[in-house]
Point group: D2
Chain length 369, copies 4
Amino acid sequence: GLGLRTIATTTDIATKTLPQINRRRPRPSESAEESWVDSESDQQYSLRWQGTGPQTVLLVKKSDSAAVDSAMVSITRWLHATYPQINIVLEPLVFTQYAGQLPFIRTIAAGDHSEYSRVVDFVITLGGDGTFLHVSSLFQREVPPIVPFSMGTLGFLLPFNVADFQPQLRNVIEGTSTVLPRMRLTYAKRLGDGSLDSRVNVTNEACIHRGTYPHLTTISCYLNGHLLTTSVGDGIIVGTPTGSTAYSLSAGGPIVHPLVSSIVVAPVCPRSLSFRPLMLPSSSRVTLLVHPKSRGRATAYIDGRDCGELKHGECVEITQSPYPLMCVNRDDLAAGWAQDINQLLKFNRTFSYPHDSLYGSHIPDDDDY
Amino acid sequence: GLGLRTIATTTDIATKTLPQINRRRPRPSESAEESWVDSESDQQYSLRWQGTGPQTVLLVKKSDSAAVDSAMVSITRWLHATYPQINIVLEPLVFTQYAGQLPFIRTIAAGDHSEYSRVVDFVITLGGDGTFLHVSSLFQREVPPIVPFSMGTLGFLLPFNVADFQPQLRNVIEGTSTVLPRMRLTYAKRLGDGSLDSRVNVTNEACIHRGTYPHLTTISCYLNGHLLTTSVGDGIIVGTPTGSTAYSLSAGGPIVHPLVSSIVVAPVCPRSLSFRPLMLPSSSRVTLLVHPKSRGRATAYIDGRDCGELKHGECVEITQSPYPLMCVNRDDLAAGWAQDINQLLKFNRTFSYPHDSLYGSHIPDDDDY
Amino acid sequence: GLGLRTIATTTDIATKTLPQINRRRPRPSESAEESWVDSESDQQYSLRWQGTGPQTVLLVKKSDSAAVDSAMVSITRWLHATYPQINIVLEPLVFTQYAGQLPFIRTIAAGDHSEYSRVVDFVITLGGDGTFLHVSSLFQREVPPIVPFSMGTLGFLLPFNVADFQPQLRNVIEGTSTVLPRMRLTYAKRLGDGSLDSRVNVTNEACIHRGTYPHLTTISCYLNGHLLTTSVGDGIIVGTPTGSTAYSLSAGGPIVHPLVSSIVVAPVCPRSLSFRPLMLPSSSRVTLLVHPKSRGRATAYIDGRDCGELKHGECVEITQSPYPLMCVNRDDLAAGWAQDINQLLKFNRTFSYPHDSLYGSHIPDDDDY
Amino acid sequence: GLGLRTIATTTDIATKTLPQINRRRPRPSESAEESWVDSESDQQYSLRWQGTGPQTVLLVKKSDSAAVDSAMVSITRWLHATYPQINIVLEPLVFTQYAGQLPFIRTIAAGDHSEYSRVVDFVITLGGDGTFLHVSSLFQREVPPIVPFSMGTLGFLLPFNVADFQPQLRNVIEGTSTVLPRMRLTYAKRLGDGSLDSRVNVTNEACIHRGTYPHLTTISCYLNGHLLTTSVGDGIIVGTPTGSTAYSLSAGGPIVHPLVSSIVVAPVCPRSLSFRPLMLPSSSRVTLLVHPKSRGRATAYIDGRDCGELKHGECVEITQSPYPLMCVNRDDLAAGWAQDINQLLKFNRTFSYPHDSLYGSHIPDDDDY
Ligand SMILES: NC(=O)C1=CN([C@@H]2O[C@H](COP(=O)(O)OP(=O)(O)OC[C@H]3O[C@@H](n4cnc5c(N)ncnc54)[C@H](O)[C@@H]3O)[C@@H](O)[C@H]2O)C=CC1
Ligand SMILES: NC(=O)C1=CN([C@@H]2O[C@H](COP(=O)(O)OP(=O)(O)OC[C@H]3O[C@@H](n4cnc5c(N)ncnc54)[C@H](O)[C@@H]3O)[C@@H](O)[C@H]2O)C=CC1
Ligand SMILES: NC(=O)C1=CN([C@@H]2O[C@H](COP(=O)(O)OP(=O)(O)OC[C@H]3O[C@@H](n4cnc5c(N)ncnc54)[C@H](O)[C@@H]3O)[C@@H](O)[C@H]2O)C=CC1
Ligand SMILES: NC(=O)C1=CN([C@@H]2O[C@H](COP(=O)(O)OP(=O)(O)OC[C@H]3O[C@@H](n4cnc5c(N)ncnc54)[C@H](O)[C@@H]3O)[C@@H](O)[C@H]2O)C=CC1
């Protein structure tokens, strides 16, 4: 209620100062002749706070899990005890539930997304990939750095185990952390008269799909205004490198490292033998519309959320968003990605064969991972 | 012979001046609110000569084709008549054959590749994709702009029809042309003791393949020094976006726009159900070696050329080359690429079905292309 | 109403006599030593009527198409004029609409499927693949021979053009026609207590799919009672060779000749890199159920028709149906199938490349088809 | 030499009597209404000897493995001690090496394959899949039942572990074993004048491949004399269901149960987006030839063995062989195949995801296998 808002909201918090995000200095090449190109390091970024450090943290958690709730309680208590000057903000429903037990927490009124942008210095997520996707949807413009915790197995989007939250958060607040920028896309829907209906940021993919309609649907796809292709089938995915390991992978798309700057176009069950996934420059404008002659209907899904039917005459424009996600990450970025590919996706498991036991396997051991 | 060299080589030509290659100015966005991102244009480049224009052209042609030979004669005659100040250089064998008939042509001694780099202002290629790949191999460091002509059907690497050579060359020499930068890779082979054996530029792909060996071969692949995967099968392809429509496509790889900055890794017939093509950042270092326990042998192929067996203990490092190809291209880059995908690769041909004739096809007409 | 039924139904028609369907005699092999195996011919069947020929034909047509309606009028008029002894049956709605204009037609009460089985000697279909699938659904047990007409382009399921209906039907009624047997599957749904809920024949596929549910669903799949795999994703397809060119093809399945006796299992967008389509013996029993721990829901679709949610505890058993479809077909079966693959599916269109124009294409011409 | 042959060959052995191979009786269906179709069992066969049981066994082993050699010594000693009436035949090279140590063994002169067919009642293989393939190549016509032993991990072609050889062989010799028939193909090569050059049985696949030739090759493929397609690329595979888990799988083909009666056609790295694997009836005749305009050369490989260049004008005909392999197998055929798919091929490994640890995985546990 009103009383709650008066005592525990963020209105008294000064507008945040942005942290410094620096491009990592490339390693000096060992010898001019021998190494023409620097590896990886030139695409990594590091985060260090200006002045007194972060003032406000937003903690977003998965719902309906006792394990997550108890981790949330531990983290907020520890944060408050260790960094009493940092404001701890939770989403309204969680706030209501825990305000008694955790008297120091604050909230922001439901729907007041601009207030999140005004005050939040960094975000902690606690749960699964869906929790991470939800945080991205809260920030339609600039996003503060995100520190994502999993409840167990690490993952592409969840590099840290909640069991290690203390050293990890200490490092983020007091030290220098490695940041992985993840490109987002902007999904802009236009009505039949060309006017803008809505604009949403996309972390994984925008998917135009037959959805509840049981028959084929036909989508035309334009690249920078030129007809690229017309897809008949279940639908079409336009995604980010981050999304390449989500629905796009199931649909047959390639595995794209998040530092590649590109837009992935992949069909879902096309009535064609010759539709192959496409990788477009991140500077592309991709336009999708239901083909005027299509009997089939189509629904737009953004990161798995139903965003309504795409009607005849309406169209969707997808471009790179100027607001990427800055994700705090493990320091060993390349090693981490290779590990994720192997452990999570079970990439390139070669066959076990009888005869290999005979003379030293020519097939590598999966236990390497 | 010696006499020939004295009268017709390039030794008297001054070292070339580099042309100006400008990034195209992004289109002013129609409205700040409506378009956050510029499309495509910020990745196009334009070529304009400094001072008096180009001084020396190298013309490289496919061999064993009467049609190509006669086009070559027409082009050189027209060039000499129209731009008598421009030196026309041909490869030694062609020079020897045509020096009588075309007294104004010059040559550079076989193998003297540094002389090509010193004097050539731009290159004309006449033939197929193989001719284009050959030109790339002539320039292991900086490459002058290339104007590729096909003998008929246009293609990814061959945007111009020789039938239109006059306006096209006039435009390149006197006006402003659109240039498409195509990334190359550097293939560096190291011996067992770590010393550098050879270094070659790659336009399509480096492929480590069982080649003439009839059985499986096992290749380990590292990303920035971390084990990425070990591939058992026919082989592995590490390629450029340009090469994504070459062998990589046949092996199941995605179609990558040449302006995407990325390295493609695709297996050839792997003994695995779970090998999916990978897209790595262009700043990656990919290292390949024959697995120490592999019974199978392996050969390296660069752009289809046999580069010798890769022995146990030897390894190959693949990184982005600092020397991309600057390819003069059609002005409508996005339209052109979409057309090539559709016309050359017959991308996403949807099925023809009986019932569609009944109520206006829901399936688009291939004749759009 | 009742009056209609009295004058124009099929109750006065004697129970049909089955036609003779003979296996074609294998071609005598040219030489015992040279040809060990007979080709194709031993899997073709021919249809010839016993005694006085067919007594009753059922004509089923696509709705909402003026062209189809006018073809239907022509065919029934011609049939009645040429073969006055043959009873012509239409579905109730069509009958009601045309009984005035075509006084000789009859009908069978809606839902009285056993009457179809009792009297119909052969079926004519007029429309698209959906019309053909509808006819299959009318006959849950033995199916009389089907003569499918398309309205234009021929197709896998529609071998005859309506423009040629006279010679074609004359041939079927008076002569010997080639028959292609198309295997069907039986889909049997069992409730939580193991009791049989429903049983339906399947022409293309049974597909268990997340349908209107926006998230992943998890389906377990058993082969003859042994766990085969558990699929996480959009869904799973269990189909016939006929269905291999329908949804299964879009999902990445192989193209299976209708004379192959096999059951195809293909996933729809699986969360796995290693799900490959499976071909099981036609004698297999495939059981599907929603995994007890699946959050996701699933719906069953048979030949594209929604057959309701598959609830936790329920399961589906899929086996070969003892009631195949006998489809009258073109005589040149192998040539016809190869043509369909090429013309309808645009199978194996090789790339068009510039350099091929130079020395006689090494790439075959699509115009062969 | 001659002496060896006199004392230890098989010339004194009477021509074998064929064992009885019976189709398993279908399980009586539980209820006529409930089960229309019998599962699997109607495609299983059982082996039982007529009269006094087998007289002669051929043991074929992998070379160059001490473990295999020692297993061979144990098996032959045990066989001789337990069944002294059974003649034990080894291949000539093995015989020469072991005749001193195992005085009871016999051999058949190298190349005298008809003698194998005349006397061998059953075959034991010891080694890997290659050993099994080698046995198949020894019998170009009827093949005696094969009992394949692996040296450790079981496999598709190797159902028995050598550790259990005693009960297993006792069962084969004295009892009733389950037999899995594996279809073979016949590869017949014809010269330019149409005459038969050679004919070979195929267990996995015939593959026409560019082999040592570094460029594309073009193969035309006919089905029962009608042009099916022309393939440009590395090559084309025509294989059996058994071979579907060999090279064909690496090339993208489906996994086909050995009881499916079909011929698989799969391309190797085709220059086409629209080549999909084909499943043809086992009664098909597939003809392959190097396209007359192909610059590329091609080599034939049968089960991985180089069978020489396929020259312009020559062609290859592939049909079902009348001589399948009768493979003694585990009794639980369906369970075994499902296990092999999962354990050996690591079929359908679903992804491990962080969030699943939260609420009971919706993703099944790989440890099921
Ligand atoms: N057949 C499929 O593969 C489908 C996939 N999805 C994906 O689900 C996403 C939404 O995720 P949830 O809200 O968790 O829904 P969800 O509960 O349906 O789970 C989707 C699964 O994808 C994983 N995931 C999500 N983003 C990922 C990423 N970037 N990389 C790797 N794995 C990722 C999640 O951990 C979860 O296992 C959508 O953006 C879409 O990509 C949605 C529908 C079908
Ligand atoms: N199975 C396959 O697809 C194979 C493909 N190749 C490719 O051939 C290339 C060498 O080309 P050539 O010297 O002309 O040999 P080639 O005479 O074997 O022709 C290869 C074909 O690929 C085309 N091609 C080459 N580069 C291309 C590109 N970047 N995009 C689209 N098409 C392209 C050529 O026009 C030609 O049709 C290699 O770099 C490799 O990528 C080589 C061997 C096998
Ligand atoms: N993404 C996809 O490819 C989807 C395919 N379907 C298929 O549609 C079928 C139902 O067909 P309709 O009632 O006409 O629905 P529909 O109007 O959705 O059309 C499906 C398309 O598949 C074609 N088709 C149907 N059976 C075929 C076969 N055996 N071989 C080749 N093409 C075939 C039809 O001609 C039509 O072009 C289902 O059995 C399912 O196989 C259904 C949903 C999605
Ligand atoms: N890239 C690839 O996948 C290649 C596969 N091969 C296959 O190798 C076969 C010859 O085998 P080897 O003489 O042992 O040669 P090899 O030493 O090259 O081994 C081939 C591998 O395939 C396995 N294999 C063979 N037949 C199999 C089957 N029917 N199902 C499952 N796995 C099978 C073997 O156990 C071995 O791991 C050929 O018939 C061909 O199918 C041959 C060349 C390349």
